[in-house]
Structures are given as structure tokens and as C-alpha cells.
Symmetry: C2
Subunit: 101 residues, 2 copies
DNA sequence: CCTATAGATTACCGTACAGTAATATATCTT
DNA sequence: AAGATATATTACTGTACGGTAATCTATAGG
């Protein structure tokens, strides 16, 4: 699941920006095609790690707020050594009591 | 090809140890089964990046010496940003004119 | 209102990599 | 020398991820 670097980067970007559209996310992955990002988002959504809200024809994705503390961080703690530094910022966000937008 | 982290790590280990058996390599990959390592070695061998010599029932693998300077390093230079620091040591080895055993 | 376009998702397919099990080859034991 | 064991490879299979193309939904334009 989160073993996939692309999905970790997606979470990282969402943590950083608070909210992003599929296209906005896809633009950050020059080597991937948007439908690929969409598929990753579907997986993340099925896992309850992100939520989406329609906004016209776009869809705004964000990290599921409650999941941050209950699921993601424990997971992070366990596998931290294998991860990119980027996600560490996510931990920082939470430790400051700051909900990611 | 070398986009695969396992293969990069294999090359790294060979650069570090000079020579290793399949089992010796496999022991460094607790999450992989030996046949998997063997398959990676086959790929690397087909690509001419490593060579093997029999030693009883084991097989000693090493980085193909001439390939180091002619193929691997240019490749490294191109994709360096995506790589682990570990392989940087390989570059160091060569710049010191040191053939990896 | 009907068509065209934008954004997102889904359907379908190919490839790469991992595992288990089977197979080859060499060494050891008796 | 024959069988048992060690080491490595191969055969076969499943799964995950990526791409292209088709589809869905919403907006924009005439």
C-alpha cells in the first residue's frame, strides 16, 4: 500500500498543500499520466486515507483528517526508516496540532 | 533496468565486497527469497553488468570490470539524482582508479 | 438546447517483479 | 558408487503498477 513511492508522494503533497485536484497532483508527476494518479487516489480513498469533494468538474482531494493521527502516524513510526524525509513534515504538522487545511 | 532498487543494491554490494555468492547476496535481502536474487543477477548478467565464475557449487558474482567505466558511470551521471547515495561510493571507487576486486 | 471541451475515472492490456515449487549441478557421507 | 544435501537456476503463477483508449460528468459556447 504505502510501500509505493508514488502514493507516499501523493500524501506528502496533500499534507503540504492541504487540498489538490487530480490534475494539480498529476502535474507534479511528469513521468506519470493523470489516470495513473487517479488510480492511486482511488486506492488511497478505498483505504480511507484521503477524501474527495466535488468542485465543479474537478475533484478536491485531501488527507482524511481523523486518519492522520489514528492510522498514518503509527504506520509511519513503524516504517519510518524506509521512508522519504518528505513525509516527516507530515508528522511535524500533526505534532503542532495543525490540521492540514 | 537499474530503476529497480534491488538491482542497484546488488551492484552496490558487489562494489563494496568485490565478489559475492548468490547466497551471500541473498542473505543481505531478508525480504527477498534467493531465487529472486538469482533472477536479478541473470538480468544484470544479460546486460553485461556483472560476471560470474563457478566455485564448486557456488557462483561468484562480481561487477564486470570494463563496464564500470564505459557504461555504468555515464548512466549514473545521467540519473544520479534519483539514486541512492550508496552507489555514489561506486563512483568513488572508480575515480580512485581502484578496480572493485 | 446541443455540441464541444475539460477534468476525472474506468476498462483493458502489457510488463516487471515477487513467491513457490521443480530442476540442475556439485559436494559430502557412507 | 549411491544417496543425501547444498547451491543455484528455471518454470510457473500471481499481483501491482503503468499506459492508451473509452467513458462519465460538468461546464462553456454557439
Amino acid at each position: 500500500m504505502l510501500a509505493d513511492p508514488t502514493r507516499r508522494r501523493v500524501l506528502d503533497l496533500l499534507a503540504e498543500h492541504g487540498t489538490l485536484t487530480v490534475g494539480g497532483l498529476a502535474a507534479r508527476f511528469p513521468d506519470l499520466v493523470p489516470s495513473g494518479i487517479s488510480k492511486h487516489l482511488m486506492v488511497l480513498r478505498a483505504a480511507g486515507l484521503v477524501t474527495a469533494t466535488r468542485q465543479g468538474r474537478q475533484r478536491l482531494y485531501r488527507i482524511a483528517p481523523d486518519v492522520l493521527t489514528t492510522a498514518l502516524l503509527p504506520w509511519l513510526a513503524k516504517y519510518a526508516p524506509y521512508w522519504s524525509d518528505a513525509l516527516e513534515r507530515l508528522r511535524g504538522l500533526v505534532e503542532d496540532g495543525e490540521a492540514p487545511a
